[in-house]
């Protein structure tokens, strides 16, 4: 690196760090989102809420109901049928079980077969999925109880073995998403604003009055942004580990490589935007048209699996999608270079397209007429 490029890079670094706006986009905003979303605890919110109607259960029935309390990710509330129906209508509950008080008869010496008892399930159509899960659990417990009562031998046993030793909590999904988002914000806004400003204020023209090569100036700015992208990734991941107890299973080197590739892609977009923008004021308008939808469709805050198929097939090719997906695979699942090669290749393609677009739209020198 020549002395000129070195000095320019050092200056660009100082300018970036002193620019409160770019620091906000690069660090404080993602940290804020991360902490807020991290502490809300979406995992707990997704517990299935069930209502139980059984005013005066017999001791055996009570024991039966208690089994539900041990089921994971289920919260129970009790009340009269009317109360529970109201709660269901308010969408506070996923399902209500109306359990007869003497569902399980007290064991008696008479070996007469007890009557068939009915458990009524009131399902909330709005939370059908959770309701069905609850229903399944209920019928399983009922079956087991039946077998126990008739003292029949058990022929089958379901043995569960946990294969994934990694907990995949929401926070582990979220952190790579936020990281990808902040890399995009930093690269796009950190370049688009700055260069549109340089262009508008005539600073680029003043630089051209020196014997400097435009390439030297642009590369000093790019080098600065890439160093900052790495620092930014390290800080965000460190905060996520220390504060939100997320886990990083993959290679740090690979995470760095993905961060660099993603940044190059979005730096290209940033330069292209500053090339198209006539002045600084039009930068946020142009940038947000592109960046804002991508923020939500790029797999940042929630998975895109739930989207309609046609939308999925579009968002699947968004540059941010490849960045967040590969970061998530490496960070949360410890994926290898080979495992994320598909994302890396696509990011490479996007980098070529966006940098090419930047070279086409961004003019350092006077347009030749």
């Amino acid at each position: 690196m020549s002395n000129t490029t070195f000095t320019l890079t050092a200056s660009a670094f100082k300018m970036f760090v002193r620019n409160k706006q770019s620091l906000f986009f690069a660090l404080f905003m993602p940290l804020m989102i991360m902490v807020i979303f991290g502490f809300i605890g979406f995992d707990k919110m997704s517990a299935t809420k069930l209502g139980i109607v059984s005013p005066e259960p017999t001791p055996a029935t009570q024991t039966f109901i208690d089994q539900f309390k041990n089921a994971p990710n289920i919260s129970l509330s009790f009340g009269t049928e009317q109360e529970m129906r109201d709660a269901l209508l308010r969408n506070d509950l996923a399902a209500v079980f109306v359990i007869p008080d003497n569902l399980i008869p007290t064991p008696s010496p008479s070996s007469a077969m007890p009557e068939t008892q009915t458990v009524t399930v009131l399902e909330n159509v709005g939370q059908l999925q959770q309701a069905k899960i609850a229903e399944t659990i209920m019928s399983q417990i009922l079956d087991k109880t039946t077998i126990a009562m008739v003292q029949a031998p058990q022929f089958f046993e379901l043995k569960t073995e946990e294969v994934s030793v990694r907990s995949t909590k929401y926070i582990d999904f979220l952190i790579p998403g936020i990281l990808g988002l902040s890399l995009m914000q930093m690269a796009v806004f950190g370049v688009a604003f700055v260069f549109a400003d340089y262009k508008e204020k005539g600073i680029l023209k003043r630089l051209l009055a020196t014997p400097m090569k435009p390439f030297q100036f642009v590369s000093s700015q790019v080098i600065t942004r890439l160093v900052i992208a790495l620092a930014q990734s390290a800080i965000l991941i460190a905060v996520a580990i220390l504060l939100l107890h997320t886990h990083v299973y993959g290679s740090w080197f690979l995470i760095g490589l993905i961060a660099i590739l993603g940044s190059v892609m979005f730096l290209g977009l940033g330069f292209a935007i500053s090339g198209v923008a006539n002045n600084v004021d039009s930068v946020p308008a142009i940038a947000n048209v592109i960046v804002f939808p991508m923020m939500f469709l790029g797999g940042t805050f929630f998975p895109t699996d739930g989207m309609p198929n046609w939308l999925q097939s579009v968002v699947h090719y968004l540059p941010l999608q490849f960045l967040t997906h590969s970061l998530r695979e490496v960070m949360a699942n410890g994926a290898s270079f080979v495992a994320v090669r598909y994302d890396l290749v696509w990011m490479g393609v996007w980098a070529v397209v966006l940098v090419g677009l930047a070279m086409f739209t961004f003019r350092f020198e006077e347009k030749k007429i």
């Binding site: 020549s2 002395n3 000129t4 070195f6 000095t7 320019l8 200056s11 100082k14 300018m15 970036f16 002193r18 620019n19 340089y198 204020k201 005539g202 600073i203 023209k205 003043r206 630089l207 051209l208 009055a209 020196t210 014997p211 400097m212 006077e366 030749k368 007429i369």
Partner: protein, 305 residues
Amino acid sequence: MDTIIKVEGLVKKYGDFTAVDGISFEVRQGETFGILGPNGAGKTTTLEMIEGLKSISGGAITLDGHDVHKETRLVKSLIGVQLQASSFFDGLNLKELLDTFASLYGRKVDALKLLKDVELEDKWKSMVKELSGGQKQRLSIAVALVNDPKVLFLDEPTTGLDPQARRHLWDLINGIKRTGKTVVLTTHYMEEAEVLCDRIAIMDHAKVIALDTPLGLLKHGDIGSTIEFHVDRKCPLEHYEKLPSVMKASDEDHVVRLLSSDPEKTLPALFGHEAVCDVKIFNLQLRQATLEDVFLKLTGRSLRE
């Protein structure tokens, strides 16, 4: 004196519009050369073509023997440029800014010394946005001097400054002149051109319409100076009109105005006339013609229109 800049038949076209229409002039080593003209005359375009910032549609420019069009980067390393309303990076203090610009020339500079030269040494820790208009202009001159240039270009250096800041900048530019640097500046203030420039090219409508020293422009402009005085008693106007070099005479009560093409000849004769006509002259004032008058005469318009 050697010629340092040679401009021959220079043309700049933007589509059908001709911004600079075949102008030629030479700038001599060590002189301060001014391009005076109203807004839109083509001054800045001319300057930016010489600086290698704008492409040339026709003609040729050589600077210190180098073709500006062919050896643009070399020429840029020899010159220092202050652009019109120039602005610099936010987020760097003045010292860092000068060091950064010096690195663009592959040089190291004593930034504090440069800042001292433009009287900004105690501001070295400040950011550009904290400077006043005059201080910004002084900074941009310091930045233009980082490479110890052979020629310093100043594009409307005092436009938008208050009179005090303007005079301050004039002192500074005169100081740079004394170090032997060639200075080329554009301005639409004729007073500025008179104070600073050794020679002036007057530009209007993309052409150079006159080129001379300020004195030469005034003399050959054939405009004349106004001699105004009070008299204690009336004396026939024909007497005044017969005085040497007087082009026109008029009186009003006891105030007489003479328009003279050469006051140095008119004045001694006027004082001699006191005895002839037994008249006493007092409150005499001489108003010299200005470049404003020259411009008015050359173009029929005022500079500020």
